[in-house]
Symmetry: none
Subunit: 204 residues, 2 copies
DNA sequence: GGTTCTAGAACC
DNA sequence: GGTTCTAGAACC
């Protein structure tokens, strides 16, 4: 095992943090373990030779999982673990935590730290962070592109995109400013109104 | 009817174009008409009192449609009309053509030009375009400049300016949002305070 | 932190 | 023009 022993000194500059895995990850892991025990030929069904089809399971390598039947998965399992029965919401969460779809004809997903029998790794999975650079996301790829031949063209496109972004921000600013002016107005009226009832200074 | 008669003269500057609706739209429309005829209590099922549940149908106003069972819809109907059985791909197409989801607990979608009995309107539905806005005035002159010699340089400078402007606008937006949240808080406190003095409804 | 609705972008 | 995978953003 390459994991750090319990009493090993912390690496310099790191603060000790006992991290819990995100609820979404634990639940997804639970769901797979549960299904591994009960799934397939569950209960009386097997006795009658009626093996239930797998709904979801670890893949054969144990480094990912497959939703074999999105319909049954959504209707029967999602509500048991989450607050919805919406398959796309489940997918959205997988993407949020950096899972990748790894097969084109199956709903198979993998994540470096999501493996059968390795529940402790879950705590190391975080949400994908958003870009700190402040660059609009649609420009990152193009701006950092190595394709020099199209640079002129890209520049034009980028410029247009920046202008659009810019316009959007201006519109939003205007809208926010209107809201603020509304609130200022409201505040004035309320204070006026209150002054009829009290001479106490109002501390807000 | 307000539609242009077949032989009316074209408005000046417009070229005559007999537009076909996008295949996606026709197929979706087909699918609904087909389902209207055959759906519900289809075939022998009805004879035995086993009415099949609706999979998809127009809504009651005829100005939108509802996918009642995404699972059956995906497995039974999508492959019949499209090259996949993927519900989210279908949703993606709806969004591409500007449909809106109009109910929170049903898969109901509407589009201004997508109505029961109005197939001719389909041709007026286009893909949503990515450039609705004009250029910001302060750069228009430079951008449309005929001075080709400096174009590359200017482009770079303009790009940098735009990005800086952009980041500034983001910071401002954040600041304005904070102000608004402050005002909301304040309003709440003032109303609370006022409520000690009066039970009169406050009309602002 | 989770859920929903919609869009970007690459690929076909 | 269609299909797939992933992400942004608003809202809860």
């Amino acid at each position: 095992m390459a994991t750090t022993p319990p009493h090993a000194p912390e690496p310099a500059g790191m603060t000790r943090k006992i991290k819990c895995p995100a609820p979404f990850l634990s639940k997804t892991y639970d769901l797979l373990e549960e299904e591994e025990i009960c799934g397939g030929g569950r209960g009386g069904g097997a006795a009658h030779g009626v093996e239930r089809l797998r709904i979801v399971s670890w893949n054969s390598e144990g480094n990912g999982f497959v939703v074999w039947s999105p319909a049954d998965f959504s209707e029967a399992m999602l509500p048991k673990y989450f607050k919805h029965n919406n398959f796309s919401s489940f997918i959205r969460q997988l993407n949020t935590y950096g899972f990748k779809k790894t097969a084109s004809k199956r709903w198979e997903f993998q994540h470096e730290k999501f493996k059968r029998g390795q529940r402790h790794l879950l705590a190391e999975i975080g949400r994908k962070k958003c870009d700190p650079s402040g660059f609009p996301p649609f420009l990152k790829a193009k701006y950092c592109s190595k394709n020099k031949s199209n640079n002129n063209n890209n520049n034009t496109k980028n410029m247009v995109m920046l202008m659009e972004e810019n316009n959007k921000l201006r519109r939003e600013r205007k809208d926010l400013e209107m809201q603020i002016s509304h609130f200022k107005n409201l505040e004035m009226k309320l204070l006026e109104c209150l002054s009829q009832y009290t001479t106490m200074p109002l501390l807000f």
